[in-house]
Amino acid sequence: MHPVLQGMITVVLGVGICIGYFYFSNQFLDKVLYPARGPNAGRNINRANMIRPWLFMGPAIFVLALYLVYPVLATLWFSLTDRDQGGAFVGLANYRQMAAEPKFLEAIRNNMLWLVVVPAMSTAFGLLAAQLTDRISWGNVAKSIIFMPMAISFVGASVIWKLIYDTRPAGADQIGVLNAIWTALGGAPQTWLTIEPWNNFLLMVVLIWIQTGFAMVILSAALRGIPEETVEAAIVDGANPFQIFFKIKVPQIMPTIVVVWTTITLVVLKVFDIVLAMTNGQWGTQVLANYMYDRMFRAFDWGVGSASAIVIMLLVTPILVWNVRNARREMR
């Protein structure tokens, strides 16, 4: 069978079964199990309403359990066993081994660096872009352009930036923009991605480039939500544009800034594709996710690989919880 046809059948069947499940299970509950008639109509309605949420959330809970909870528990178990010993329980030996590895420490250090730089820069640039594009006639065009990298996959973006950082031997035409500029200014061509520690920042630029659009869109909406009269009051009070921005506007959208910041932080903690595609963790650019991939699927050391996965999860979880709480408070 043609794969396209297969795909279409899968989509139709999948969506149909989903709709069918919700429709018929609801019908069964209302018409057969607890019908809203007879002597116990009122009681039946109450009972049906108590069951209905579980009915509707059931599939989601099941899928989450299967694909999220089980893998987490399995990973936790793997991280405590050793493949070489046939999967025997070794306690925290994997963690101890990992903590002694320079590559792991390098990954931790780099992750922290990413954690500080990328969310800060993305949010700052996003805020700047949001404020500046709000006031100009071609602001929406500018916004679209700034937002566009969001639509590019991390790997795609990495390829684009790899070209920008590309190096040709001295004397040859530099196809990398950065080297083209560098040599035009009189420098010798550099292999940018191998220069420690600056190559880390060159990788971060890719993620900042992608995430600035996200930050800009969310912050732009927040800026528009600021009551215009508070800005006018500040004008009457004598504030200059900078004071209005930093003392009136930014404090009012602080909750949104925090949500944007933490959301980008989560992306950063999981950063993998960019490093894999551009340096594969060489020249001191290793990060946790790539380290995990390295151990798990290249060295086939599931013990240390799982241990590093657990470390990433432990780092992500508190920020995730905080983020969800902030987002909820925002919505209220």
């Binding site: 009551p227 009269e229 508070t230 006018e232 009051a233 500040a234 004008i235 009457v236 009070d237 004598g238 504030a239 004071q243 003392k247 009136i248 404090p251 009012q252 602080m254």
Partner: protein
Amino acid sequence: MTELKLTDVGKTYGGTVEVLKDINLDISTGELVVFVGPSGCGKSTLLRMIAGLERITAGALEIDGVLVNDIPPAQRGIAMVFQSYALYPHMTVYDNMAFALRIARKKDDEVRAAVTAAADKLQLSGLLDRLPKELSGGQRQRVAIGRSIVRDPKVYLFDEPLSNLDAALRVATRIEIAQLKEAMPDSTMIYVTHDQVEAMTLASRIVVLAGGGIAQVGAPLTLYERPENEFVAQFIGSPKMNLLPGRIVQTGQQTAVELDGGGRAVSDYPSNAAMQDSPVNIGVRPEDFVAAGEGAHIFSGEVNITEALGEVTLLYYTPVGGADPVIAKLQGIHPDMKHRRVALTADPSKVHVFRNGVSLLYPEGRNITVQPH
């Protein structure tokens, strides 16, 4: 001494849409001037032009003899209280009130003194550490006023400051503003509202704006007793003044008008002989009508609806043609008026005469036409 002077001020949006034109107005120190008018008449726009939040596209605005057209708001010596209060939500009451002074780089103890004094004046002393969201509507309003007081401006601008408050609070805050004005006799205030009760109770002078211009400027009771044109006559007072068409049959110190509806009215408004036979509208306020015998009436008709309010009884007559129904407001309780013919008359001193929409008292007066929107 003229504190604030508008000369031929106009406002045009995008070069084509003219919302205000030829505004001429002198406001003296210590006055409380109220801008009223129907929605869309440009009263808020005019206030914002004085504040400096809207550009003045024609004419001149002077404050204390200084042309301020192109001077930014903060340097005009004005302070503004916004309709939504516009408190900075992330700052405490104290910080809200201190903001302007801190921007002006005043010393901390100076700021503290000014804020404390304003807070005392407005009974906000206990609330200085609160955030705006922890305050009631009336308290927020007071903070907004306090924020303008600390700046000690020459002119206070109020943009419909009471319209976000509920009815009871509005009355209380209105009285507070009146007391505040009394406590600061040297301050000039300009107050925009669409509520004529606010205008009548607060104003030393009212500016009625309509159709992009000034319909009349005067003390509240002048506008009520001697409206310049039909627009002001009907805008001030509730229910609005009845207008009845007719023609002048006798001129002189008093003017007699024979009405198209059959009645006859005599007014204390003087007229000259040239006006004989010219078509006019007479205006009588509902509260000025008194019941009369047939024959000596200004208006007679069948009562359609009555509203007994106790202190007064409102009679709504069956409308003739497409005209608004005539309304009479009789003192006391009048049972069984419904569906009866009741003839009405009024004292000659209470009968207004408008020729081409302009009162005979104002030979130089201007007619105002307002496009419905």
